[in-house]
């Protein structure tokens, strides 16, 4: 009896001669804010573009984000999620971008890596059947999913009434259904804060928002607008240590945690409620990427990309929340426009022209240090002004960004405050990259280091 490898029979590797094929330059997977911005940018660069979207509508998760706060940087105007999405939907509809809605991608086949000539085949299915799209470039824009109760290992029973905040948001904003009467919210991420306000407005009493960390995880403006203005208490350094109730949630037990985030025995308190909402983090949805051979960064759980947002698989790009979890949709848009433009350049111009000043001798990895949780892009392959993104792991009032090469400081930013809720971004000058290359290093370090106040 030989070892039986389950995967052998389930890969979609069979011959698919019968499946219809359509050719494009750029195939964008995902029709949320990232996918639409990437598609529009690629279209602007004169590429033939297709968007594949699982849902019947474009817009992604923005469709259920009916609160304001979108568009402030991109449109200089405060919009709701659906309004923000609609601006892009209208733009997409005004083009000849092919829309494959209600379609789920089941695989990306990049064939043998043959450099500039590689053509990717995206297999998808919909109620109309199977279809294959080919493209010289693919943009991954599948977004993220919410971390679940299981991933953060909340002990206790498993009754109905434990929802991720996004699921509760869908019930309330899309389905017009009331998920409960009395809610506890775990996690002060932006979705948790927004849902605290939303529940309150819909007559669901919010007993409190509990946060494991000693600081709020969402944007400051959301803490103010969603909790403070409604008198909803925020309990820091406190977490849910037990779910109580056999059939439906009856209560949760909360406990304070120590500086190592371990629950402190003796601080348990039972909070009666019928609903527990979880806003405990987002995880890029990269199952498709991994199956396509894309390498992930264990810190972001998104693809390792270069400065043009190209993954390790030539011709496959990634942007938006599938690459790293963003704070604002506006930032997703900006990033995705870059990815779309780079994908179009690759598809139309061949391999080496993804960047105007591409330099084959430039190959640097970028690693985080200090309180930087990650650094993106993870690879730099061109000596050019490069946008670096990172998030800090804890809030500090005074710190600075430093770029180190071989232990030597080649760049230092201004001293200022940093918060984990903010996705930081700063331009790394070309001359700093050149300086690192001149030092003969293969890695530069992005370090965020707290400094003593003067």
């Amino acid at each position: 009896m030989a070892t039986f490898d389950m995967r052998d029979e389930r890969t979609g590797a069979e011959a698919v001669a019968a499946v219809q094929t359509q050719a494009f330059d750029v195939v964008v997977i995902g029709g949320g804010p990232a996918g639409m911005a990437a598609a529009l940018a690629a279209h602007k660069a004169r590429a033939r573009v297709a968007i594949v979207e699982r849902e019947q509508h474009l817009g992604g998760i923005l469709r259920q984000c009916i609160h304001p706060g979108f568009g402030l940087s991109h449109f200089k105007q405060e919009l709701t999620g659906p309004e923000y999405a609609q601006r892009f939907i209208d733009q997409v509809h005004a083009t000849d971008i092919a829309l494959l809605l209600n379609s789920m991608v089941i695989g990306i086949d990049s064939g043998e890596p043959t450099g500039a000539t590689a053509v990717h085949t995206v297999t998808l299915m919909s109620p109309a059947g199977m279809l294959q799209l080919t493209g010289r470039a693919v943009v991954l824009a599948m977004g993220c999913r919410e971390r679940t109760r299981s991933e953060i290992k909340i002990p206790g029973s498993r009754p109905a009434g434990v929802f991720t905040a996004g699921l509760a948001q869908r019930y309330i904003n899309i389905e017009n259904l009331k998920p409960g009467s009395r809610a506890v919210i775990l996690g002060s991420g932006d979705i948790g804060l927004i849902m605290a306000r939303r529940c309150t407005l819909e007559g669901i009493s919010v007993e409190g928002v509990y946060e494991l960390m000693p600081y709020a995880n969402g944007l400051r403006r959301n803490v103010k607008n969603c909790l403070d203005d409604f008198g909803i208490p925020l309990h820091l350094s406190t977490t849910v240590t037990r779910v109580i109730g056999h059939d439906r949630v009856e209560a949760v037990e909360v406990s304070q945690v120590d500086e190592r985030l371990a629950p402190i025995p003796g601080t348990e308190r039972v909070v009666p409620c019928d609903t527990l909402l979880l806003s405990v983090g987002l995880i890029p949805e990269n199952e498709l990427s991994v199956a396509a051979g894309v390498e992930l960064d264990p810190r972001t759980r998104g693809a390792v990309v270069d400065q043009s947002l190209q993954t390790g698989v030539p011709g496959i790009f990634a942007c938006g929340n599938v690459l790293h979890v963003h704070d604002l949709a506006d930032n997703v848009t900006t990033e995705s426009e870059r990815a779309g433009a780079a994908a179009a350049a690759r598809a139309l111009g061949g391999g080496a022209e993804t960047n105007a000043v591409a330099d084959t001798s430039c190959e640097l990895t970028v690693s985080p240090a200090g309180i930087a949780g990650y650094a993106l892009p993870g690879r730099i392959t061109a000596v050019a002004l490069t946008k670096l993104n990172f998030r800090v792991r804890r809030p500090v009032d005074t710190a600075r960004v430093r770029i180190l090469a071989n232990g030597e400081e080649v760049f230092a930013g201004k001293v200022r405050a940093f918060k984990p809720s903010v996705m930081e971004s700063f331009p790394l000058p070309a001359k700093v990259i050149q300086q690192a290359l001149d030092l003969g290093v293969s890695e530069i370090i992005l370090s965020v280091d707290p400094v003593e106040e003067a």
Binding site: E9, P127, T148, K153, G161, L167, N176, S181
Partner: protein, 484 residues
């Protein structure tokens, strides 16, 4: 309302369902009476799905007799009932000389119990068989007959086949009292349940953790159940499914085992602690012990990728570690299949076979039916279907191309099928156990509201009446505003 049957089986766990399937070939009217609203909601649910080979039980015990035989029967059962069964083989990993001596004892045990092809192997062979096994393992008991199943699927498949052959399934029918008439009575037992009364000539007690209560209600053997609780963790899918890896067992349990599943996930099973009866809570200490135990066997296991943690009680009869299978010595006509703790899943087909034998020897007339059909056709599993079949399905009904659960690639038509088959799914979890919608990494975050809508449509009820699991487990209160 009272219905009369030749046989009533109390409990639609894997044991009761397997027995129902085994007896359905005879000219008997059979009813499976289940307290919960679905199949396999007790001990069968809180299970790692391993089909242990049978080298653990002490030779001469009932367990020893049914475990190896059950493991052997799984091949046929899987074929006939159309459920997934992977016979991958397994290894018990040893890390030192003391372990090696223990492995040798296990091997001797296995030989005595009739377990085939056991051997002790060294590091090279270990890593050839499972490259991810700990490099510190110096020796292992290699057991080619071990496998794994999805325990829900086995129970559901067995009962579907039984029902297709005329067996009645009565759900939400907890037995509250049992009346026993004289032994000559054709309908000797009357079971009182809120769903109606059931009269029967023969009664089979396969009530899992409720077996002591059933026995007591019938005036038969008095025994106590011990709630030996176990926590289990499911990890996300791996590119390559892991072979079951066991540590050297302790006196009370097989220890923390790491195994692949038929769907490509990894399961870490199980802790063992005596807790309050009915306690299905997970505990931080247990979950941590599972993850730590798993890393000893598979050091590069990514234990961050927890999809689900759950817990349940193994039905252990106090004072014995063995199964109790046989006719009651106190109340003839009552047949006990009690104390079916581990390895209950592995033994289920053999427990059913043994029950048949016990009944035959007790004088129960078993006449084969001419129209018995041993075959159950599995529902179409879209995710596993070859591309050509996928296309065919979508062509037959566009709802096959409408993916509801993205993590497990479950289309709407597959969910509808789960709700329409018999016995049908009546809850969100019932749907999940039949077709895996909501079983994946997002744990129904994306699809729950859609499954609720499909259930409400198919069951012709309001979303507020849709249950997550059993009575009381409502998901939404009702509409927020306006008229729906």
């Amino acid at each position: 309302m009272t219905e009369t049957f030749d046989i009533a089986i109390v409990g639609a766990g894997i044991t009761g369902c397997a027995i129902a399937r085994q007896l359905a070939r005879y000219d008997l009217s059979i009813c499976v009476v289940e307290a919960a609203n679905d199949v396999a909601l007790g001990a069968s649910k809180a299970n790692g799905g391993l089909v242990h080979a049978g080298y653990d039980p002490a030779p001469g015990t009932v367990k020893a007799q049914v475990n190896a035989r059950g493991c052997e029967l799984y091949g046929t059962w899987a074929q006939e009932l159309g459920f997934l069964f992977c016979r991958t083989g397994s290894m018990v990993l040893g890390f030192n000389d003391e372990d090696r001596a223990h492995l040798e004892k296990l091997r001797q045990n296995g030989l005595a119990n009739g377990v085939p092809e056991l051997s002790i192997i060294g590091p090279d062979r270990i890593h050839e068989l499972e490259p991810r096994a700990s490099a510190d393992a110096t020796c292992a008991l290699w057991c080619p007959s071990t496998g794994f199943v999805d325990p829900f699927e086995v129970a559901i498949a067995a009962l579907e086949n039984a029902v297709a052959n005329g067996v009645t399934f009565m759900r939400s029918a907890p037995v509250e009292a049992i009346e026993v008439a004289g032994s000559g009575d054709d309908a000797r037992f009357t079971l009182e349940t809120p769903a109606g009364n059931v009269r029967c000539r023969y009664l089979i007690n396969a009530a899992g953790n409720g077996a002591a209560d059933i026995s007591h209600m019938a005036g038969a053997e008095e025994f106590q159940m011990v709630w030996r609780q176990g926590n289990i963790v499911v990890l996300d899918k791996e590119p390559r499914t892991l072979m079951p890896l066991y540590p050297v067992p302790t006196p009370v349990s097989k220890g923390v085992i790491v195994t692949g599943t038929v769907h490509g996930n990894t399961v870490i099973t199980a802790t063992a602690a005596v807790r309050e009866p009915g306690d299905t809570q997970t505990y931080a200490s247990d979950v941590n012990a599972l993850l730590a135990g798993a890393r000893k066997l598979v050091p590069n296991l990514d234990t961050r990728r927890v999809v689900r943690a759950f817990a349940g009680g193994r039905p252990v009869i106090q004072g014995t570690n063995d199964f109790f299978i046989g006719q009651s010595a106190v109340v003839p006509g009552l047949f006990q299949a009690a104390g079916i703790q581990s390895p209950g899943v592995a033994s289920a087909p053999a427990i059913a076979e043994r029950m048949e034998l016990v009944m035959r020897e007790s004088g129960v007339k078993l006449h084969e039916r001419t129209d018995w059909n041993p075959i159950r056709h599995a529902p179409d599993d879209f995710d596993r279907a070859p591309l050509a079949r996928k296309e065919e399905l979508i062509e037959s009904d566009p709802a096959w191309g409408q993916i509801v659960c993205r993590c497990e690639t479950v289309p709407e038509a597959e969910i509808v099928a789960a709700i329409r088959r018999q016995p049908d799914a009546v809850s969100v979890e019932g749907v999940k156990r039949r077709c895996r919608a909501g079983m994946g990494r997002c744990q129904s975050g994306f699809c729950q509201s859609r499954v609720v809508a499909i259930l409400a449509r198919e069951l012709d009820c309001d979303p507020s009446e849709v249950l997550l699991e059993d009575a009381g487990s409502w998901l939404v209160e009702g509409p927020l505003k306006g008229v729906r």
